[in-house]
Point group: C2
Chain length 578, copies 2
């Protein structure tokens, strides 16, 4: 992982690649890598779909090693959705494979001169870039079948579906899981549109002949990894709840907390929650011959990803994540698990962010385009997106554009990005993260739910404004650091609650790289990443006025708690004063 | 003009009106009135379509008097298109009639509780507000026929078409001309969507029984008006060019200057310009039994508005303005005058800003939705807007949204508002106005074309960055003042070039109100208005980074001059340092 693959897609005569040393980016991984490259190399005022933007794809610091949970891949650029800097990360195999192949980053840059569509094939022998227009408008699932036929089943793919080719603002970058399903996505912010604007359909990775990256101190590394895995198994969230039900274990929890946004944030509880909860869906999956316990990448020990079969026992989709179940479920008043799984599959195969897509459909429901609760209508709408009809183009542009186009007042977005599955009035801490994260509304950027609701890392009352800024600040800093390691964010529960598990993560990094990192070093790394991102956004014209929730969260109370968002502007503005 | 009509459309039990004294708004007119009310009463973060926004309708200081050219009506609100403060003004009869009825402003506020559509009828006996759902989705032209049948032909109407009811971001507010054609529009920024959000379809004004407003010093007022009219007749632009050809006299001039944006700002000259020039169209109009010389309101002496008949001699539309001819013409590669007149009519009757609509269609052409030059396709697209189909909704949301939805990089907007008919690379002064005006890209906000191209008020070389900021500053200040008087902006040519005509404008104000205004007072008024607007925008989150042109104007030179926009950011930022 000592080199960067840089491809100028706009070079005269076709794409031109070069392999460089890491140079000034040495020592960076994941989000720290993508945000550093974007902040340094992309003009903040450039058009996100233009030649000056770059798509940066980077495995984490521990990806490609024997460390458990180290398979996150970061994808960064200037976001077409928010206009700010973006890092979206994904599970699946590519991070591990790309890291073993030795690449610290792939940087796609320039603007293609024609309209050819390219595939990039990377293996131990080098890199090939080939035009292949037969792939145009191919869905992710079909594409991967084709790549498997051409390059064998040892590959991992990073790809876009039709949504990315159409440069839709909610287009994702798909990553394949170990069974070559393109079901893990760097979903947020329209990163797939930027890949589409670069004319790259798929990056095919094959690490056959490459070994796992070797730590400086193998013995210490193995010991640290053992303790790390043991810590994850010991914690009730990572050891029990996530493997048993996946992230969708949260449906019942959030609904009981009155923080489950229902019918476009009209109320905080959904009558149909029980029908689409993690418990219900896990039981259904098991009954249909699949199940809730599956690893999305080599080295995953939590195994929260799961497989969802249809009623005839055939693969329908991966187990939909909590935020997907919410966006296509409660947010739209839909309580049919099969419909939600179908929507999840369609999003994955067209290459769409499930959150942005579901929220956009809910906003369209608010406008009366279709009715709340009409699952078939929602499926039809996502098919329109895949076809790129005018209505599909609207929805594929995300919730903010959908709201504008249909004249809807109530549009749950921050910095143009749709809000995920937690009402910021009933969980005030997540509202702070939504408002202030450089990424736009993003639960993963500082997951206060852990402390507000799940009581990991202490407890801060979700219904009171006090303490939320400090909570979100600490979580945003920690997350920015974790997102740079390649570690799955779900390790956070265990490292928040168990000091020895946190120490084992430090030991993994230290023994691998021969470093002497402490808790303070991690905090410093997180702060540095956030500062870099905030600075890019500032140069792109963002101000504190962009660090606010939509007006209705301040004016309309939500049931059952009858509560508004109460954290004051001045407090929000103090978040980055550390 | 000593009272304000305030209507709370959101009151329990239906709209509730009250008539107030001017209070702290005494002495304000037009844009000074609308911007002061919006800045004071509208929370900068409110949703433009929500109950906290207000639509303010105000005649100018001299409207309703015997002063020539005093018929401009200002419409203000927080703009759904830009998110900033907005004042759009219109000719036609309503300003004169509203002022004679004694109203300094109408303020529509609150959020209707049901979905009834209302008409407001104002005459010397008072105000009536009535629900009339039979008007729903009626076009402006049909609506006015109905109002005439109900209220007689002495009325003037302020109305919205289907676009405003659908809350489209490019919806206009229509004003009737003396023959009751709804052909004059407060076009920009989606003011019609705000009227739609208030549930008001039409305001019917009848000043029967009301006299012209009386000046403090009648004798001096009459003398000043005489000199003022004489000055307008003497100047070649207002005395000859505008009455002979209307604003479209500019097509040949701008095309020859290489500043006529063609095919979505691809080049600065249009091969078909001669076919749609003011000279060609005026000749055609005359041949078909109409003509280029018509007054859009009582007291107009320039008479630039004109009537365009079809080939059978029947009314097709008013004479399309230069910016309309450009937006639907050269910008889209269309050189068919009949098609452009039809597009003008459709925009007027659906209630759409012709600039925003034409630019959006050009952006859709850039995306390949239809082909450049296909006039019938453009007509079909505007009909889609009128019907509110998904494609129509996209286009009706304006150029910025259209660009996002179709993944287009080259979108000529500032602050989300489409750029009018002058390439800012070939006329650098207008680029400064586009970039810095609180209104978004708006040629009228500081019409540098006067000095850069027409050599009114001196000459500043349009192809050099030097002197453009000072030019735009002076014009923006002067315009903000003129927009507050109710005077048509076209008086600017004569008052810029002829000191005695400028003095006669001051004399009109002084003799009417018993004031002692000087040139400095006018400058102070203009600065105060701009400061109020800039302050609102700042509170709404705008920064200097919003005072920039789209990136491609800085990177892609335009032919024939092969020139980029060269005014430096720091210079732009100095514009409001006076």
């Amino acid at each position: 992982m000592d080199k960067i693959l840089r491809i100028d897609m706009g070079a005269a005569g076709g794409p031109k690649m070069q392999v460089e040393s890491l140079g000034e980016y040495a020592g960076l991984g994941g989000r720290a890598m993508t945000s550093s490259v974007v902040a340094k190399e992309v003009p903040p005022f450039c058009h996100p779909l233009g030649g000056e933007n770059k798509l940066v794809i980077a495995p984490g610091l521990l990806s490609g090693t024997g460390a458990a949970m180290s398979g996150r891949l970061s994808v960064g650029c200037k976001s077409p959705l928010t206009g700010g800097i973006k890092e979206a990360n994904s599970g699946g195999q590519p991070a591990q494979v790309l890291a073993r192949l030795g690449y610290g980053a792939i940087i796609l840059e320039g603007k293609p001169q024609g309209d050819d569509l390219y595939k990039v094939i990377i293996n131990k022998d080098g890199v090939k870039i080939e035009a292949d227009n037969s792939l145009k408008m191919m869905t992710n699932y079909d594409l991967v079948v084709r790549m498997k036929a051409e390059y064998g089943d040892k590959i991992a793919c990073i790809s876009i579906g039709p949504a990315g080719e159409m440069k839709m603002q909610s287009a994702s970058v798909a990553c394949t899981d170990p069974e070559l399903r393109p079901s893990r996505h760097a979903g947020r912010g329209g990163v797939g549109a930027v890949m589409g604007a670069k004319g790259v359909k798929v990056i095919v990775l094959d690490d056959t002949g490459c070994k796992a990256r070797q730590p400086k101190d193998l013995q210490k590394f193995r010991e640290a990894n053992k303790k790390f895995v043991e810590g994850l198994s010991r914690h009730p969230v990572t050891g029990q709840a996530l493997p048993a039900y996946g992230t969708n274990v949260l449906t019942n929890i959030l609904n009981e907390a009155g923080a489950y946004p229902t019918n476009n944030f009209k109320t905080g509880q959904f009558a149909g929650a029980g029908k689409i909860s993690g418990e219900t869906i896990a039981e259904l999956e098991t009954k249909r011959g699949a199940g809730p316990t599956h690893a999305c990448h080599r080295g995953c020990v939590i195994r929260c990803s799961g497989i969802y079969n249809d009623k005839d026992g055939n693969f329908l989709s991966k187990q939909p994540e909590y935020e997907t179940v919410w966006a296509h479920g409660g947010h739209c008043g839909i309580d049919d698990p099969d419909a939600i799984a179908m929507l999840d599959f369609l999003d994955d195969t067209y290459g769409l962010d499930t959150i942005e897509t579901g929220v956009a459909i809910g906003v369209a429901m608010q406008a009366g385009v279709v009715k709340y609760g009409d699952a078939q209508a929602a499926i039809n709408l996502v098919k329109e997106i895949g076809k790129g009809t005018p209505l599909g183009r609207i929805l594929g542009s995300g919730a903010a554009v959908t709201g504008k186009v249909f004249g809807v007042e109530k549009v749950p977005v921050v910095k143009g990005q749709a809000m995920p599955a937690y009402d910021p009035r009933a969980v005030q801490g997540i509202g702070v993260t939504y408002a202030t994260s450089p990424m736009g509304a993003d639960h993963t950027a500082g997951y206060s739910i852990a402390t507000n609701i799940l009581k990991s890392g202490g407890f801060v009352d979700p219904l009171k404004p006090e303490g939320q800024v400090a909570l979100s600040r600490n979580l945003q800093v920690a997350t920015a650091a974790i997102d740079s390691t390649g570690m799955c964010l779900f390790i956070a529960f265990a490292i928040l609650d168990q000091p020895d598990t946190f120490q084992s993560l430090l030991d993994l990094l230290n023994s691998f790289y021969g470093l002497e990192l402490t808790a303070d070093s991690v905090t410093e790394l997180g702060k540095k990443v956030l500062k870099t991102e905030r600075d890019f956004n500032k140069r792109a014209g963002f101000t504190k006025e962009d660090d606010r929730l939509p007006r209705f969260f301040y004016t309309d109370p939500v049931l059952p708690h009858n509560i508004k968002f109460m954290v004051k502007d001045e407090e929000l503005d103090s978040l980055f004063d550390w």
